[in-house]
Amino acid sequence: MTNKRLLTLAAGAAALAFSASGAMAQDSCGSVSMAEFDWPSGELLANVDKIILEEGYGCDVQLVNGGTTTIFASMNEKGEPEVAGELWINAVRDLLEKGIDEGELKIVNDGPITGLGEGWWVTPKFAEEHPDLDTVEKLLEHPELFPYAEDESKGAFIGCPAGWGCQLINANMYRAFDMEEKGWELVDPGSAAGLDGSMAKAAERGEPWFGYYWAPTAMIGKYEMVLLPFEVDYAGDENWNGCIALAEQDCEDPQKTAWTKSEVRTVVTDEFAEKAGPAQDYLSKRIFPGEIMNKMLVYMQDEQASGEDAAYYFLENHEDIWTEWVSDEVVSKVKEEL
């Protein structure tokens, strides 16, 4: 009984001391707006950053929800949000380089998550039943294996929702591989929910599904989707950045190419880089191993955890990883909060 009371007292005192130090530290970091990208790993990463920056560095973090193009446009034009933790730069490479040259933006982490990849995937059951169709090119000859519900004479290729960078890429790849002539229909799933739903539905029922996705994600891990390699090689940056990644009207003659290597960066605005020195060190050091990220994502989906719930779960259960990113002082501050 007395022990318990003592503990409560101690915790209370610690909380008081902590909030005082938090308030003091806030002066040095101030308020920060961070992008919370609207896919699960983006949500998790943003919330882990939020907790560590708030508790450990005394920042006052606001999360801004959005997709790659929206967030990046706002960051580039208005300097808001100030931090993009998981920016998939393929879609915005030219603009990003320009922003960096002009001193507006700064890359602080070259790979916040390891083991990434985008591309075209099929359901495991299909891959098992058709071991001969093990590359994109071979599969493209058989649209009849993926009948499109709204036009059974065509094969359905599920592309990427409008507004994501990958939508333009898929549309141009669709043209580069002459998929229309081969009898394919590029289906717009409409939204992330539509894309996930169509894959989940097919995988749950053992139906064939062919479309775009990326890893590491809970969807890929959970349904054990199979990534199809391309037979062609990567046809160079000029083709990719100068054509494939652009809007259709800006890409006259897309060449066949393998998918470009996916690159993710943590990007901050110049203003943030100036005001938040130590917090920026943290951002440059935090690297999620792909395998752990995958596990976290499956956890998020199974437990229906929000980004915030998952962030707490991550901090509680993967201490060995995040304690490497920060100083001992920060570790103890964050641990107090858990």
């Binding site: 507004g163 739903g197 989940a200 029922r205 199974d302 229906q304």
Partner: protein, 296 residues
């Protein structure tokens, strides 16, 4: 003290288990019956596809002609016909013809379904207070539940595309039809009904001969509401892959293309105005006949 400071909750893990149980239940339901349900809706899908193809593949002058004809039949007003022709020509000229036809197809079918279901439901509700009390909360849920919430199970069951989109539109657009039919019939003067009863009219005769005709203005208000809501819902339905004007609007929102969003948004407005004016005129004409009949 803690009890008063914080609302007692179920507890994190129990709550999670509850959610997981609901999800697991739905998942196995979808595994067991999803395919059957999908097959059940197959004829609807074929009809929708056929209708959309009909609209997009027919040469545009013929489509314009038919639409003007329908507008004339509905409104008997040259102003309406000319206005419609101008609207559709501008839409076509700004390269929104195919999307508009896709939207037109799904909205027409959705409106027809909503009227076919909503009218009898409204009549049932008007018949007894108990039925009304039972159905009203269902209509409340249909109308106010955020569309994303029911898009999730719809996508798991039926996938993405026209049929789940049509269902989403119908769920959202049906309630006003039922509500206003119910209201219209209930507002019919009791004395008129007594008179009809005195003349020996049975239930059917009273319903079709007295109540529905007298309730027509309200019923038509319901039809208008349904059309408007179907049109606005078409944009949301594009989130689950329904082709039409919603897709460019969605693309415009996520990419900040002002012109694209504005043009396609205005095309939806144009469709809404045409639908609305024609159905209102049609309703007014039907009532004009009634007034003449009463005058004789």
């Amino acid at each position: 003290m803690e009890f008063f400071d914080e609302f007692p909750t179920m507890g994190r893990s129990d709550l999670r288990d509850l959610k997981k149980a609901i999800d697991g239940g739905f998942r196995s339901f979808s595994r067991a019956y999803g395919e059957g349900l999908e097959n059940f809706f197959d004829p609807l899908l074929h009809f929708l596809v056929w209708f959309e193809r009909l609209l997009t593949n027919t040469p545009w002058p013929i489509v314009l002609l038919v639409i003007s004809g329908l507008v004339w039949l509905g409104s008997r007003s040259w102003v309406m016909v000319v206005g419609t022709l101008i609207c559709f020509s501008v839409i076509g000229y700004l390269d929104m013809w195919e999307d508009t036809m896709a939207t037109l197809a799904i909205v027409s079918v959705a409106t027809a379904i909503c009227i076919l279901i909503g009218l009898p439901v409204g009549i049932l509700m008007a018949r007894s207070n108990k039925t009304q009390a039972a159905i009203t909360p269902i209509l409340d849920v249909m109308q106010t539940i955020p569309s994303f919430v029911y898009l999730i199970p719809v996508v798991m069951l039926l996938g993405i595309g026209k049929v789940p989109g049509l269902l989403a539109v119908c769920i959202y657009a049906l309630p006003p039809m039922a509500r206003l039919t119910n209201l219209g019939i209930r507002l019919v003067d009791k004395e008129v009904l007594e008179a009809a009863t005195a003349f020996g009219a049975d239930y059917r005769q009273k319903l079709f001969g007295v109540q529905i005709p007298l309730a027509l203005p309200t019923i038509f208000a319901g039809v208008n509401q349904t059309i408007m809501m179907a049109l606005s819902m078409v944009v949301i339905a594009s989130l689950i892959g329904v082709a039409g004007l919603g897709v460019p609007v969605l693309r415009a929102v996520s990419n900040q293309y002002l012109a694209l969003g504005l043009m396609n948004g205005l095309a939806i407005v144009a469709l809404a105005i045409i639908f609305d004016r024609v159905s209102q005129r049609f309703g007014q004409r039907m009532q004009a006949h009634r007034d003449q009949g009463a005058g004789h």
